[in-house]
């Protein structure tokens, strides 16, 4: 069935990119001019008056780097027996771990429940481990989380934290046909789960408008060129070589994905002549983490700080059913060489409660979240950005350059 031309996925199909973050627009080589007017659902007049983002390098309070735990085959959700212990894996969610967490937890907990345990262990307390633990409690189990670090210290809180369910989640070929259906099930389950956190004090889960600014009109682009011959692929090199290898499943959930609106030229507070708006869900790490921890503890959950060094150590736990959620660390802990690091960096500026929107311009995204104005720069490599880079050292120059782009986007901004 042809998609209606105003879905954001048209752009993605045209560009061969994934429904990515920040999105909103984001990652994918959303160079100026990409996207299409033809696909705009409607042209609208004046934008609401907005408070400006105060983007300047002296307001940077933190720079966070994180490695997306990317598996070309998609997240690992299979099971294995270690002696008398049933291990259910739940790791390797690439750039979609926040988004798919509930659905993935539902799958893992279903497998655990089939073994009828009264008590369950969860390894890891990132967003995957914590949601797995809470889901297991909701299914009636007593849960202990064994983890090296508590939630607020995990890689999960170094992410962007937007609804990006198919951002670097798999490569189309190695993941195979069947994964698309599983992905859809996880995405839909998660989407519904997040709804129960909307409107709570502290906005653990929230929606914001995202303005995409451009110096050129948004025009539909032709199909992205095929990668140059001889470049190789995952199949021939063991590493993805081109953005076109990354899976995109967004069309499967087009019915729950908002479209976008294009503003008449000059009708917005931004100086940029071409502005388009869409809406996206995002997660405020501190309050959302707090709600999750609260539910876990109120239901009798226990946390034990512990570091595992060998898979066999899991068999020594008193719980005989374990959901394994170490994230990228599975590369070491489980010797999973299929895990590929995908580096990403975000700068966090002083929070601005009066700002409640995001922008994307010149390969940089900015989103005002409860715990800060988050600014993330991309270098136009699309889904290949950061692939294979396992450095978690912050690069301040990279963040300063991104903040500069946002600062400039607010030059000539019309107040009130």
């Amino acid at each position: 069935m042809p998609m209606s031309f105003d879905s954001p996925f048209d752009r993605r199909r045209l560009l061969g990119h994934s429904l990515a973050a920040g999105g909103l627009v984001s990652l994918s080589g959303c160079v100026s001019g990409a996207g299409g007017p033809a696909m705009a659902s409607r042209i609208i007049g004046a934008a609401p008056s907005l408070a400006p983002m105060r983007a300047s390098v002296d307001r940077i309070t933190d720079i966070k780097v994180c490695l997306r735990p990317f598996r070309p085959q998609g997240p690992r959700l299979d099971t294995e027996m270690l002696g008398d212990t049933l291990v259910i894996h739940n790791y390797g969610h690439g750039g979609s771990g926040w988004s798919l967490s509930w659905g993935s937890a539902e799958v893992a907990v279903g497998k655990a429940a089939a073994a009828l345990p009264d008590r369950l262990a969860v390894v890891g307390c990132g967003i995957i481990g914590l949601t797995s633990a809470v889901m297991a409690q909701r299914a009636g189990m007593q849960v202990t989380i064994y983890t090296k670090e508590v939630f607020s210290r995990t890689r999960s809180v170094r992410a962007n934290g937007s609804w990006t369910p198919d951002s670097r989640i798999a490569l189309t070929a190695p993941a195979g046909e069947a994964f698309g259906a599983l992905w859809e099930r996880m995405a839909r389950f998660s989407w519904k789960s997040f709804r129960s956190y909307l409107g709570l004090p502290g906005n653990p889960v929230d929606f914001a408008d995202n303005y995409r600014l451009s110096d050129e009109p948004f025009t539909a682009r032709e199909e992205e060129e095929a990668p140059p011959p001889g470049k190789g692929s995952y199949a021939s090199t063991g590493m993805p070589q081109d953005s076109s290898e990354f899976a995109s499943y967004g069309e499967r959930i087009a019915d729950i994905t908002p479209g976008h609106e294009v503003f008449a030229s000059g009708s917005t507070p931004f100086a940029a002549p071409y502005v388009r708006r869409s809406s996206n869900m995002f997660f405020n790490f501190s309050t959302y983490g707090h709600y999750l921890m609260q539910e876990f503890l109120e239901n009798g959950g226990k946390i034990e700080i512990r570091e595992f060094h060998e898979p066999g150590e899991l068999a020594q736990l008193k719980e005989k059913v374990v959901i394994n959620c170490p994230g990228y660390a599975a590369r070491d802990l489980w010797r999973d060489s299929k895990l590929i690091p995908v580096r990403g960096q975000t700068a966090w500026l002083i929070p601005q409660a009066e700002v409640h929107y995001g922008i994307y311009t010149n390969n940089v995204s900015a989103l005002s979240k409860a715990d800060g104005l988050m600014i993330q720069g991309f270098n136009g490599l699309g889904d290949m950005e950061g692939v294979g880079d396992s450095s978690e050292l912050p690069d301040r120059a990279e963040s300063e350059a991104a903040v500069e782009v946002i600062r400039k986007a607010f030059m000539g901004f019309k107040f009130g």
Partner: protein, 134 residues
Amino acid sequence: MHRLAMMFAVLAAAGSVSSAAPPAPTPGRYTAEQAAHGAQVYAQACVMCHKQDLGGDFDTPPLVGRFARNWADSNLASLADDLHRTMPQFAPGSLNAQDNAAVLAYILQANGEPAGTQPLPSDPAALARMPFKP
């Protein structure tokens, strides 16, 4: 030990354990033909809510995994009766006794129980002597 054996059975059914699965305790409380008929009933009356893989979704509970835990301490009479009284949700009670037993056989199969030579009865007294997990 019992649980462990069952764990193997479940895994083997899910295709996750290739070998070394111990023999299932009491094989065969339904026939393969019965489960195949149950699959047809399922495709007509259940799949739209409980989904192809019986995994359900956010609004509909799964009929595998968590489901097994929910019913582990009950017997098949209770489950068959519950099924008949409440499902399919849009037309409860519309399955005849034969279809009801068949769809239950299909659910047992999906939960890792092997087929045998005797069909699953629909007589409540007989079902009452069968624990959910043999």
